[in-house]
Symmetry: C2
Subunit: 101 residues, 2 copies
């Protein structure tokens, strides 16, 4: 193992996107703001991990969390500009998947 010339920004990007479910969560959010349960229902991810991933993405400024104090409470997640900027990468993966899988 070593850490030589590897670009730290690319490494971080791969670490973020590469975390399990993160890519699919972002893909899901490309459709627009969605609440917790919507994302949970759309993907085979448990609430435990979805919560964890959304927190990470929020911390990185990729996802925004908005609470509506309705009854019952509504929490919506959406992509920030930084998150939206990932669309090209995600669409490219989608295209590759369509052509090669």
């Amino acid at each position: 193992m070593n850490e030589t010339t590897l670009c730290p920004r690319l490494a971080k990007a791969m670490d973020l996107i590469g975390k399990r479910w993160t890519g699919l969560i972002l893909y899901q959010l490309l459709d627009g703001p969605q609440r917790f349960n919507e994302i949970e229902s759309a993907l085979p991810v448990s609430g435990r991990l979805l919560s964890e991933r959304l927190k990470e993405l929020e911390k990185e400024g990729i996802v925004e969390r908005k609470v509506y104090t309705e009854v019952p409470v509504r929490v919506e997640y959406s992509l920030t500009d930084k998150g939206q900027a990932l669309e090209g990468a995600i669409r490219n993966i989608e295209i590759w998947a369509t052509n090669w899988l």
Copy 2:
């Protein structure tokens, strides 16, 4: 959890690329064929996982393994067409990383 409308091909692509180190291994191979130790030295990945990942990628037809019976043995890994087709996706992640991280 559910498995509703999620595109299975995208899910598989995300699962492949999303596995730890896989993105960086592919990025590394965009530079051309490389032997095991070269990849291991370029990335902070251990031989154990590098070996595991390369096997998965070979099984998926993304990476090709070629053995040269020299002394000592030389094993080179390279991208197949299917693997090379991921360049767009990987470059997009690279660009995003440059702009946003």
